[in-house]
Amino acid sequence: MLLGAALVLSIALGAVTIPPGNALQILVSKFPGVEVDSIWPAYFETILWDLRLPHTILVALTGAALAGSGAAFQGLFRNPLADPYLIGVASGAGLGAIVIMSIPQAGRYLVPIGAFLGALGTIITVYQLAKVGKIVPLTTLILAGVAIGSFTSALTSFLMLISDQMVLQAMSFLLGGSTVTGWEPLAIALPYFTIGLALLTFSGHSLNVLQFGEEQARQLGLPVEKVKLFIIISASLTTAAAVSFSGVIGFIGLVVPHIIRILWGGDYRKLIPLSIIGGAITLLVSDILARIVMAPGYLPVGIVTALIGAPFFLWILRRAKKEVFW
């Protein structure tokens, strides 16, 4: 319900406001065989269909991806601070994306592949560095992730500084300004998002078992190393999709799963899908605000999520009467 309302509002609002009723009618008219009298100006349809709708879907998917992978990383590391940034995956994806952007000959559509390779390269490096014998302890994994994350972030900044024609684009990218519009990039993005989100949703049970620690998980019969790798790859894929299509948007991956946890508890079979929905709603609302506040300009949504999200999260945290269990 909330997701539906956020979707419609996101389509309707912006530099040009389309009444939500009209927006719905336009959507309905697009179904084959449905006839609706067009009582709206023709440019409404162009704005809505060619710009707002693909943008809105991409924003929803990005929020879903960030919150879903955040929830998975938190469960995997049994650490409330874990999110795609902590283990360096987001920074790695960002570096991969920037490298592609800095090559003038490379098309915009190579960016997600660069980001995925960056994320995967980062996580494999971190995983190998953190490995002690045949086992990967979570503490060394996080330490290696933070170190590699800082390193890739520094490389990203360096790349931005030496190639000045892309500074503006990269700047808006790093602040989480989604500059991608139209159906074509969405079609490219869709497989990354859907595969990643589906894999994350399937890993709820394994994450539940892992909450009792790796030793007990193994004693309960979970093939722990395999499961960890599966979750890491799914979460990296989703993170890479989010970073390459919408830039670096902080905060959603950290906070949305926590709010869901406060409201609905810690069962990952529910926590992951609810975080995915919650992340979509949260980023849609932030994005609407980002478009309205500086209309007709566009404020990078990463700024909005941090400015509005942080106080909102603290308010929820204070209001939560019951203790949040880990």
Partner: protein, 263 residues
């Protein structure tokens, strides 16, 4: 026990290392059907390490363990978990889960990737919760119940694994006397009723003789001796293992063997 039962688990010349440290040195012992073997020894003697090896968490550097005729190293984690269940010490883990959810995770080795329980899983879940009297706590969060109750939940989870062998790592640690006694009594009852086999690391030597069928004394990673409580818990053995002088008495009421430190 007058009739010697069939052995279900054979530990053969097991050694284990942490880096250069030899934590277990050539341990051999059999666990039989329907018996409780108490594992005693000073801190660092290798009790927990042996449980880690038997539950597949730590790979032995030498030797073999057979469970119902299969080498544990050749078993997948799930196949091993269907044969050997572990009751860890109660710890603040998984506090966000309800008692029911936690016990259901004992079925992990039988469930698919999505963890959806079937009819049989739910039946065993109910049985395990009833046997351990945690069914009345089913919807409480683990973080909200007492240490003694948590330990019973972990026992219920192990029962839900439907394994013939249970390994318990100092299950009465950090529990009040009342919970210690009732937990050990419960374990004894379950073993007798279900013909389970238990290997249980224990700290309190006087609890040992009341509950177990045999005692294994570990010192510095080696098996010093194994036998009936009165054969193992002698003042000489205890002095040797713990560097503490004790006297052994027979309890006038129960006829059980107990130890008292010399002052």
């Amino acid at each position: 026990m007058s009739v010697v039962n069939k052995s279900i688990m054979q530990i053969q010349e097991i050694s284990a290392r942490y880096g250069d440290n030899l934590a277990l040195d050539n341990i051999s012992l059999n666990v039989r059907e329907g018996e409780i073997v108490g594992l005693i020894g000073p801190n660092g003697a290798g009790k927990s390490t042996l449980i880690k090896v038997l539950s597949g968490v730590l790979r032995p550097s030498g030797g073999e363990v057979f469970i119902q005729g299969q080498s544990i190293i050749s078993l997948t984690p799930a196949a091993r978990a269907r044969r050997i269940a572990v009751v860890p010490q109660a710890r603040q883990l998984g506090g966000a889960f309800s008692v029911r959810q936690a016990v259901l995770l004992g079925r992990t080795a039988y469930l698919g990737f999505l963890g959806k329980p079937g009819q049989k899983d739910l039946q065993i879940l109910d049985w395990a919760m009833k046997e351990t009297a945690v069914d009345t706590l089913a919807d409480r969060k683990l973080a909200e119940i007492s240490g003694g109750e948590q330990q019973r939940v972990l026992l219920a989870r192990a029962l839900a694994q439907d394994a013939r062998v249970l390994l318990l790592d100092e299950p009465t640690n950090h529990l009040d006397l009342k919970y210690q006694v009732s937990l050990l009594r419960l374990i004894r009852e379950l073993v007798d009723k279900e013909n389970l086999s238990v290997l249980m690391a224990m700290h309190d030597l006087n609890q040992v003789s009341g509950v177990v069928d045999r005692v294994a004394l570990l010192v510095d990673g080696s098996l010093r001796c194994i036998g009936k409580p009165e054969q193992v818990l002698t003042p000489e053995n205890i002095q040797d293992a713990y560097q503490t002088e004790v006297e052994a008495f027979l309890h006038p009421g129960s006829g059980k063997h107990y130890l008292f430190p010399k002052t």
